[in-house]
Structures are given as structure tokens and as C-alpha cells.
Amino acid sequence: MTLHLAVALDGAGWHPAAWRAKGARPDRLFTAAYWAELVIEAERGLLDFVTFEDSLGLQSSRFEGPDDRLDQVRGRLDAVLLAASLAPLTSHIGLVPTTSTTHSEPFHIAIGIASLDHVSRGRAGWRPRVSPRPDEAAHFGRREFPPLDLSDPIVTRHVRDLFGEAADAVEVVRRLWDSWDDDAEIRDVATGRFVDRDRLHYVDFQGEWFDVKGPSITPRPPQGQPLVTSLAHDTLPYEFAAQGSDVVYVTPRDRAEAEAITGRVRAAEDAVGRSEPPLHVFADLVVFLGDDAADRKARLDELDGGALASDALVFTGTPERLADLLLDWRAAGLSGYRLRPGTLPHDLTAITRGLVPALQARGAFRGAYETTVLRERLGLPRPAGRYQKAS
């Protein structure tokens, strides 16, 4: 079976000094052409999908909140809109933007991702994330969040609440996607009706954080349910993923940890009573590829004034060596990887033109796209709408 390979795109790459690397195009980060080149290259490499990072505040070198550094990339485009702009330029690759479940309206998210699925004809995914930072909350002025001191029990409760709210947001979004039956539009001239109202459904969600009535204003997306993916480092987010995601990104440092984490993910599935299918578990890796990878990374570390800090393992080495690692860890129960290129476009091109052929040569990666539908690529059937009456 083929490995699943996704690439996470962000700015000039995942090293904070990537914009200063040779071949970088830092003056073009906010242009459509920059992103088009990257995603067309990813599609050329037959990758499953690309993800787009996003947040509702400036990037920072500090987890807790903003910094005042001007020597790193600051500023981003809205991920859903960026993904949409790439849809007409590609035909197979999945497009998976990030949005905040903390501050964005679930209704707006639902119609945005559904629309991305319509414009890409079934290639949309979504990565919901929580926004715990107090500075981001101040951009909205509706809630006050505590300083992010993770040893503070108030913060533990705060984060737990945000994940609870996020789970509700995912539930609402999924209900809204199903709120139009596939055959709701009838165009019945005899009765003058454009839609059959019995095939449109109120979602009537009532929860601790918000209520949403529905139905959606957007017809059911081509995939029925676009692919939901989330990044998780601990039990709480594993359970969040198990409740509502199709793919979970995890961050093991070695194969043993990969085994331990997939075990914890399966336990989380049991704990929340997940029904089939099981989560796809993808390991996230930051990658610097090529014979000179370690030198390139060291040089960027030096420019940035410190070694790259990452939640994920930082790999430096040749595409062949990376292929070895991916196939070795795979036995830990991973179905794929999300690679975060250290620099763009260099490490993306090394994936598409180095890693992919290496995996293909070992019979571990597809030689052509078999479907244009993202869910299908991941072996997920198109679900019937939850409100649709069996006909």
C-alpha cells in the first residue's frame, strides 16, 4: 500500500530564517504566484495534500504570545482564501487550510470549507485549531484569556474549555455540511419549487459555547464531508482528534515514540467511543534535504541566533535516508507523514524530485494519482448525509 504524504506549507518554510536561505523568494510571500508555484510542484510530486498554516495573530518565536522580532517572517494570508485561489490551478492535490475554532464562527467556517470543496471539486480538507493566546483574544475583544503559563491550573482549564469548544465547532460544521441532502435541489417546474424543503435540515445544535440553527446556505460539498485533520501532542488533543477528525498529525521523535503515540491515539479512540474508520495517523517531520542539509540548517540557525526549536523531529539528510526512516517508522502504525519543508522551495522540490522517486522505487508510493477526490485518496468512503432519509 502506498504511503500517504502531505506537505505543510507556511511562509518561506519552517525554519524562522528560511526567508534568508539561498533560492528563497521572501519578497513574494504575499503573492498568488509564489503559492501557485509551490502547490503545482507538490501536485507534480503526486502528494496527497498540502496544508496551509494560519492564526489570528502575528507569528512569534514565543509560544505564550507576541515577540518584537523583525528578522523573521511576519504576516500571512487567510488560509481558506489562499487554498481557494489555488484550486483552479490544480486538479488532483488536496487543499487543507487551517482555521481557528476559538474566534471564528462555526457557520462561516462550514460554508468556507464547503465552498472550497465546491471550487476544487472534492479536494478540500480542514484543519481546525484552538487559539489559546491572550493577545489573539484581544484582537476580538470578546473574551479575556489568562497568560499562557502551562503550569497554572487556570490555563489547564482554559485549554480544556477551548478543546471542548473546538469539538462542538467540528460537530456543528459537520452537521451543517450534511444539512442539505445531496438531492435537495429539485427544480420542479410543476410546483415552482427550486428545492425540496424536506431535504433541508435544521441542525439545531445547542452546546455550552454556542447554538447554531442551520441549515447551511451552501449545498452539500462534493465530498459530502471534506477531510478533517488536526495536530495533536497530548491526550486531550488526541481525544479531540478521535471525536471529529479523519487524520491526526502527531510528533514522535523516534520509532519507539511513534509506537507509543499510535497506542495513545487508539486509546483515545476507545475513550471517546469513536466508530469506524480509525484515524489516519500521520507523523509530522521538519525536513532539510540533500547532501548539504545539515550545513544549510546550521547556517540558518546561526542567522536566527539559535537552533531551530520544533515540536516535531527535525530531519537533516538525503531523500534516500528520509525514505528509510519513513518506511521504518511506518511499522509503528503510521499511515503517512506530513512533511514540513525547512526552506521553500528547496526542500519541497527535494521531496517531490528526490524523496518521491526514492519511495516509488521501493514500491511505497503511487506512480500516478488514482482519484481527484481527497477522501477517496485516503480510502474514506463518501458518507451518506446524516439527515438523509433512506430512499
Binding site: R76, L86, H108, G112, R121
Partner: protein, 455 residues
């Protein structure tokens, strides 16, 4: 002086303008429909392509209104996709200012402006009702009289966010190691009645500085808001005399804000029907009107105004011999039936009696207006006359067919306008502000700030 005409294309949907029963009528949701209409508009050198918004499916008599041509995508998402298949066309999204927050709207519009190379526009609308609010976190939190105080402060705040990045903030200078120029990003702080927010905006200033602002309100507050802060008004006053009155009324409000007539373009929503002869066009127009007002649509309109269930009435018979029920009403989510329904009912009754109209004939008369009917030559002449006599600065065309409904306008009428020298033969600049002849927005460190921004 001869005025230059501004033209825009409206993707049809929701109300009964759209003739979905026509065999040529295509999908309302497939991206190809959006691409076709947008590329047609760009072929015609139109100023912009426009998408409407409605955040809750409308209801009649407590149930979803199934005659509505519903099912549309999120505007900004589709426009971002269209930015990749067009190069000059402006892209205008309707986005509500009640059920959104400034930080998010500012970043989404700035993002579209970047992705499109300076072609973004925002139609600020103000639905505030509790019915729509049921789809959102805060529910129906806003009183009607506050819809424009919030909209004005919302827009003001969004402009502050756009201005918080200097035009040259992104240095991206690998040699010196400065990605952001020192002082390039100014922290913002807005404290007002509706918003109390502070921090740092996270999208660089877009190519237009500020995307184009469109406003579609009609009340006195709506007009004042437009005069103070909008670049374009999307109006419903498409008849010559009422168009002139509206035009005069709004333009005279500009001086108080230190603005000139040319700073605000007035573009009514219009429809058109072409024929090889005037008679043929008139015949087609009548056919289209009948298709737009099905028997069921006719009854639904009268129900909306009367506020009663009239399903037992014959659409080909006379108006009901009943007084309108003015309290609750039967229609939800529809601006049209918000006003003084008693007065509308009286007017309709008088008209029906005077002309001896059935229910359906009456609704065809009052609810399916067509603006320009004729040969390409006569329609071009009418369009020009409306503009040159100050009934409008141009028009937003709403086709009755998706997606081919503007094909013949672009093929047959636009060339005549171009020949007359009243409409551009080609785009003269890359941005929507260029197409509309609007001044570029100076940066925060730039020249004259917008009058509103100093207040």
C-alpha cells in the same frame, strides 16, 4: 463633460430574477458557472463581479422558502478562486458587519486583495435580525437602530487595521536581516462603543491599500453611511426619475464629509432584454417576466405583503378580499417585506383595480421589473442616457440566466458603448480602484488621510 460608464456583473440567485426553469439555465453552485460569468464580465472590460450574501435560508409561514433559488457558496472563497482565472476584473464580496468581527474581515479582504493583485471590494451589509442571528454565536444581539452605528465603527476599525502596516513594511532584506522594516507594523488600539480591541494586525497592506467599499443600504442612515465612507453604492433605484432623485440625494450628502461627487459611484441593480427589433425584445421580456413569476411565486409575494396564508387563492384570480395582517408577518429573512406592508398592500390593490390585474399579473407588474428592453442600439443609448443625465454612474447587471445571461450584453451592447467613447476599450490599470477612477488610498505615513479617519 461626457461621463464614463461603470459596469458590473451580479451572479444571480436567491430571488425570482433567476429563471431556473429555462433549459439553458446552469448550476448555481458549480465553479464553472462562476468562471463563465466572471470571464464574460472581464471580456466585456467590466469594473467588477459581484456576489451577494444571505446568512440564513429565508422562510415563509414558518418553513424554508422552497421557491427561492438558494444554495450559494461563501463569497470570498469563490472570489479567491476566481482571482486565479481572471486578471483585471474587480471581485466584490458581500459581507455582513453584524455577524462578523473586524479583525477577521480585515484580514480576509486584505488577503483577497493580495491574491488578486488589487481587485478586492467589500459590500458592507447590515442584516441584524435575530432570525439570521440564530446561526451565530451571539444570536440576535443587535438592535435595528444600531445596525449602522456598528457598521460604521466596524468599517472604521477595519481601516485602522489596514493602515497599521506601512505600505513598505515588508522589507524582506536578506542582507540586513530585516524581514519587517523597523516601525513597519504599528500596534493598533480601537476603543469604541462596539469594539474594544488591540494588538497587531497580521496581513500586510494590500495592493489597493484599502479595498473598495460598497454599500447597499437605502434608509436615511444607510445613505449617510454610504456618503461618509463608501466608494460605491449598490442601489435599487433603477428607474430614470427615482434614480435621479436618489443620485442627487446621496451626492449632496458628500460635501459634509469633505468628499467630491466622483468619490462615490452610484450603480443601480438592473436587468435587460435584447431583441433584433423593439417588438421582439418586448415579447421576450414579457416571456421572461412570466417565467420569473410562477403561479406559486405570485401567491408567495402577496402572502409576504399581506402577512397571511393565501395558499387557497387562485393566482389567476383577483387579490384576496382580506385586510393585511400587519403584526407578525409570514416571511422571515427578507428585507423586502420589512417596510410598511399596509401601504404596499393598498398600493397594490389600487393598481390591480385600476388595470384589472389578476394576482399573477399584478406581481409580474410590481415584482419583475426590467430596466432596459430593446435592440442593442437602443439599450446602449438608454444606458448612456441614464448615466449622462445623472440617474446613475453605471450599473450592476443582474442576468436572468446562469451562467450565460450576460453573453449578449457583452457581445452586442458593450461594443456600441465603446464606440460611443463612454466605456473603456480596455483596462487602463491593474486595480479595481483604477477601474472606478478612485484615488489610490494613501498609506498611514502617506498624504491626505481619508476624512473619516481623522474624526
Amino acid at each position: 463633460m461626457t461621463k464614463q460608464i461603470h459596469l458590473a456583473a451580479h451572479f444571480p440567485g436567491v430571488n425570482n430574477t433567476t429563471v431556473w426553469s429555462d433549459p439553458r439555465s446552469g448550476s448555481q453552485i458549480d465553479f464553472e458557472s462562476f468562471r463563465h460569468l466572471a470571464q464574460t464580465a472581464e471580456r466585456g472590460k467590466f469594473d467588477f463581479f459581484f456576489l451577494a450574501e444571505g446568512l440564513r435560508l429565508r422562510e415563509m409561514k414558518g418553513r424554508i422558502h422552497d421557491l427561492d433559488v438558494v444554495g450559494r457558496p461563501e463569497s470570498l472563497t469563490v472570489l479567491s478562486a476566481l482571482s486565479a482565472v481572471t486578471t483585471r476584473l474587480g471581485l466584490a464580496a458581500t459581507v455582513n458587519s453584524t455577524f462578523n468581527e473586524p479583525y477577521e474581515v480585515a484580514r480576509r479582504l486584505a488577503s483577497l486583495d493580495h491574491l488578486s493583485g488589487g481587485r478586492a471590494a467589500w459590500n458592507v451589509v447590515t442584516s441584524y435580525d435575530a432570525f439570521t442571528g440564530e446561526n451565530f454565536r451571539r444570536g440576535g444581539f443587535l438592535a435595528e437602530e444600531d445596525r449602522y452605528t456598528r457598521a460604521a465603527e466596524f468599517l472604521q476599525t477595519v481601516r485602522e487595521l489596514w493602515d497599521s502596516w506601512a505600505p513598505d513594511a515588508v522589507a524582506a532584506d536578506a542582507a540586513t536581516g530585516a524581514f519587517v522594516r523597523p516601525g513597519g507594523i504599528t500596534p493598533f488600539r480601537h476603543q469604541g462603543r462596539h469594539f474594544d480591541i488591540s494588538g497587531a494586525f497580521n496581513v500586510p497592506r494590500g495592493p489597493q491599500g484599502h479595498p473598495v467599499i460598497i454599500q447597499a443600504g437605502d434608509s436615511d442612515e444607510g445613505r449617510e453611511f454610504a456618503a461618509s465612507a463608501a466608494d460605491v453604492i449598490f442601489s435599487r433605484h433603477s428607474k430614470l426619475e427615482e434614480g435621479r432623485a436618489f443620485y442627487r440625494d446621496v451626492k449632496r450628502r458628500l460635501a459634509a464629509y469633505g468628499r467630491r461627487d466622483e468619490d462615490l459611484k452610484i450603480l443601480p441593480a438592473v436587468t435587460y432584454v435584447l431583441g433584433d427589433t423593439e417588438a421582439e425584445a418586448a415579447e421576450r421580456a414579457a416571456e421572461i417576466r412570466r417565467a420569473q413569476v410562477s403561479p406559486q411565486t405570485a401567491i408567495a409575494f402577496v402572502e409576504g405583503v399581506w402577512g397571511r396564508d393565501l395558499s387557497g387563492h387562485d393566482p389567476d384570480g383577483p387579490l384576496p378580499d382580506l385586510e393585511p395582517e400587519l403584526e407578525e408577518g409570514v416571511s422571515k429573512g427578507r428585507a423586502q417585506f420589512r417596510g410598511d406592508r399596509g401601504a404596499v398592500a393598498a398600493k397594490w390593490r389600487a393598481l390591480a383595480e385600476e388595470k384589472n390585474l389578476s394576482i399573477r399579473e399584478l406581481v409580474i407588474e410590481v415584482a419583475a421589473p426590467q430596466t432596459f428592453i430593446g435592440t442593442p442600439v437602443s439599450v446602449a443609448a438608454e444606458i448612456d442616457r441614464f448615466v449622462q443625465t445623472d440617474a446613475a454612474d453605471g450599473f450592476i447587471f443582474v442576468p436572468h440566466l446562469t451562467p450565460g445571461g450576460l453573453d449578449d450584453l457583452v457581445d452586442k451592447v458593450v461594443p456600441i458603448l465603446q464606440e460611443k467613447g463612454v466605456f473603456r476599450a480596455d483596462y487602463t490599470g491593474p486595480t479595481l480602484r483604477d477601474h472606478l477612477g478612485l484615488a489610490p488610498r494613501p498609506g498611514p505615513s502617506g498624504l491626505a488621510p481619508h476624512p473619516k479617519e481623522t474624526s
